[in-house]
């Protein structure tokens, strides 16, 4: 595992993409087949099943480190990562062990078949024999989650460098249902005729955010516009009489949206659609808000009542495959034309609808439409160049998302808590309140949006203006007003204020604003009535 741990270290220590790609390419070039399959699997979220509960791991780590469990538990949120906390508290080890990554994964999976005592013995021996980064990597294998800045794009670049194959081809090969247990390196990466997996999706093309007005994009007639829906991006695949639904995060969601099963009755095999999954009631003019869809997310099986309350349809906006042909190189206008013809005859009962395009001849007209997007339950406008092919990943130039300005409210900071992990030495997590008469009512927590310099400044201030401490939380003198930006608001009886915000963050530190001029609970309730 030394080779893998070294790769991990290089990637972790480097801030430069090229250095990461080079290290990864080097690894793919030299590691044994099984190890490189597992490496790809780990970096793309296909991790081995958790062999030990984290509760047990914490107990065993505290015991081995000879510290009380509460002290371990207090340290963990400050470090921010369980695997790292364990590695840091254990007694230092002078030696290490160089069995391969695959051997360690196999042992780990074997251990998951045994009882608690045997698992504990296995883990303790591993901690004792593995040193430094190897021990940390082992903990990561147990706890799962190798989120470390290796995107799918970065991995395909490295693979391309190591194998000489084109990135787009590799991206396609890497999608879908492969796993080191039943897929070999040869079959996945090298085989000329990689078995065409009926379920295999196309890599998604992602838009960049448009910062200024769209005038910079040139003549409006070269562009098509549509609502940017606030749903889940999805790809519907119809092949061989079957259907598959994929999320942008490369997750197979077919079973979560049983409504889409009927699509095979309305659309021919050899069709692949890109669109937005939305809760849309049959006779409504616009989709339900994201809050309604939220009830469906994360449910692997859907009860009948929920199916009736929150029916999902795919709003199709692109056609990637038609009659079994890959259409991605055709211009968007052409793909769109076929898509429109395909969708025109669909009855209301079909779970697929055409996502309409917005009429405009001048950019000003589009700006006016954007202003009413919230009424349509859209979160902005998508702009696509008429002649653009369907590319892979996030590429600048052809697709833009022109988002709505977020909702904002001015609020008073009343509690502060130190951050964890990368921000362990700063106060970064704050609770904000609005006025209700003479009282401040907390309504949101936010921990992002300030610059590092601002976080450092507020940290100094918090240290000097703490009124009371409740464990890690400090109550501070009400003094600073921040503008809180958020994407949505809904009623929430669980919160003291009665509302819950979507994606709240600090958009501005209003040093210019006196405490008394922060917004009120009434202002929040007004927003709830309009946008909730």
């Amino acid at each position: 595992m030394i080779r893998f741990a070294a790769l991990f270290n290089t990637i972790d220590q480097s801030t430069k993409t090229n250095a990461k790609v080079a290290a990864l390419a080097d690894y793919f070039d030299s590691a044994p087949d099984e190890d490189r399959m597992w490496t790809m699997a780990l970096f793309s979220g296909r991790r081995p099943k958790r062999a030990v509960t984290t509760t047990k791991l914490r107990e065993w780590a505290a015991e081995t480190a000879d510290i009380p469990l509460w002290l371990f538990e207090e340290s963990y949120p400050i470090v921010g990562d369980l695997a790292e906390t364990i590695a840091l508290v254990l007694p230092l080890s002078e030696t290490t062990n160089d069995d391969s990554l695959t051997q360690w994964i196999t042992r780990l999976r074997d251990a998951s078949q045994t009882d608690d005592a045997a698992r504990k013995a296995f883990v303790l021996v591993a901690w004792e024999t593995l040193g430094g980064t190897e021990r940390f990597v082992f903990n990561k294998l147990i706890t799962g989650g190798f989120r470390m800045g290796v995107s799918q794009k970065l991995m395909t670049r490295a693979l391309s460098k190591a194998t000489g194959k084109a990135e787009a081809e590799l991206a396609h090969r890497l999608m879908g249902n492969w796993h080191p247990d039943h897929t070999s390196w040869h079959a996945l990466i090298e085989a000329d005729d990689a078995a065409v997996d009926a379920s295999r999706p196309y890599p998604f093309y992602l838009a960049y955010a448009l910062e200024g007005p769209p005038d910079a994009l040139g003549a409006p007639e070269n562009w098509r516009a549509e609502w940017k829906w606030d749903g889940i991006r999805g790809q519907l695949i119809l092949r061989d009489g079957q259907h598959f639904v994929w999320s942008r995060g490369e997750e197979l969601m077919t079973d979560r949206f049983p409504e889409l099963a009927r699509s095979v009755d309305f659309l021919p095999p050899g069709t692949v659609l890109d669109g937005e999954l939305l809760v849309w009631h049959p006779h409504s003019d616009s989709p339900a808000s994201f809050n309604a869809l939220q009830k469906r997310i994360g449910r692997k099986t859907v009860p009948k009542k929920l199916l009736a309350d929150a029916p999902v349809v795919l709003h199709a906006y692109d056609l990637l495959e038609w009659q079994g042909e890959d259409l991605r190189d055709a211009p968007f206008a052409e793909r769109r034309k076929i898509l429109e013809e395909l969708c025109a005859p669909l009855p209301v009962a079909a779970p697929v609808r055409l996502s309409p395009q917005l009429e405009f001849t001048k950019w000003d007209e589009l700006a006016d439409l954007r202003d009413v997007a919230r009424d349509e339950n859209a979160e902005g406008i998508m702009l696509k160049r008429s002649d653009s092919p369907y590319l892979v990943g996030r590429k600048k130039g052809d697709w833009w998302k022109w988002k709505l300005a977020p909702l904002t409210i001015d609020a008073v900071m009343i509690y502060a808590q130190a951050g964890h992990g990368r921000r362990a030495n700063l106060f970064t997590d704050f609770t904000f309140a609005v006025w209700d008469g003479n009282e401040l009512v907390p309504f949101a927590k936010a921990y992002s949006g300030l610059t590092d310099a601002e976080f450092r400044e507020i940290t100094k201030w918090v240290r000097k203006n703490t009124l009371q401490r409740f464990g890690p939380v400090r109550q501070v003198t009400p003094h600073h007003v921040f503008e809180i930006a958020f994407e949505g608001i809904q009623a929430s009886p669980r919160h003291k204020s009665g509302v819950a915000l979507r994606f709240p963050r600090m958009s501005r530190w209003r040093q210019d604003k006196p405490l008394q001029e922060a917004n009120t609970l009434e202002d929040l309730n007004d927003m709830l009535r309009i946008y909730g």
């Binding site: 220590q13 002290l71 470090v79 921010g80 840091l88 964890h420 030495n425 240290r463 000097k464 890690p472």
Partner: protein
Amino acid sequence: MNSSPALTFTERGIYCAAGDFHIDPWRPVARALITHGHADHARSGHGHYLATHAALPVMRHRLGDIDAQGIAFGETIRIGDASVSFHPAGHVPGSAQIRVEVGREVWVASGDYKTEPDGLSEPFEPLKCHHFITESTFGLPVFRWQAQTHVAAQINAWWAKCAAEGKTAFLGAYALGKAQRLLSMLDPEIGPILTHGAVEATNAVLRQQGLPLPDTLGVTPETDHKAQKGALVLAPPSALGSAWARKFGPQETAFVSGWMQLRGVRRRRAGDRGFVISDHADWNGLLTAIKETGAENIYVTHGYTEIFTRYLNENGWHAQVVPTEFEGESLDAEGSE
């Protein structure tokens, strides 16, 4: 006489009524005893200062014209009804713990300290006392430092690699203490050592008082940036990546701090690399120091105060948190430390 404690904690700082003086006060007072020259301990505006001979030059450099008196390590003086002496804290050159004895009661205010000798600062001296005032900047069991020689090897290996690749190595560290300690760890065989003006000014002060520092070259507007092949530049963190630094062409940057122990902090602030070196005691250092005082009463001033205090109380001490305005190890340019 013994009814009120020898030292108390007030709005202005740690106060001794018997001698009518404050230790490291954060508001202006008539008479201040200062543990060391860092900004959160040695502040401007006091009537009279008392510090070790070794700490005074840097304080004068920072605070300008102050009314100050020097004292030798181990020398005892009488202030009112209190006997006072200064003892090495091992934190930075000249840094002291202040021992105060009133009647039979002995207190030690340790300021900032570290227990591992760094080869430059006067090594930490354990002192017996009844009441011990301690920091807890790194008072969690996840903070355990590796031996200085081990980290020195890591830093030199990184520098040598940068030099071999034709890059300038930038090492970010605050000017007083850590910068000089790093200088003493660097292998001058690898290449020239350059310093930012803020670091060089402190070097000059410390050299003048006889500290053995290797040769360094202060960077000035006249410096020929391209001619410094294989150099290492020591600079305050705020200078890293600035226009000033970019003049040197291809480069790598590294931060040096106890916070670099945490992968998250390393990834946010480390530039290309992060090395774990601190002038504050680690978990084991804090516990060893506290045990060696033999004190029953422990006052925890800054850092992970609540957690550390709870641990001490569970292990037989009588410990409490005392709020102060000391700041621990900062990652910033202004660096209180």
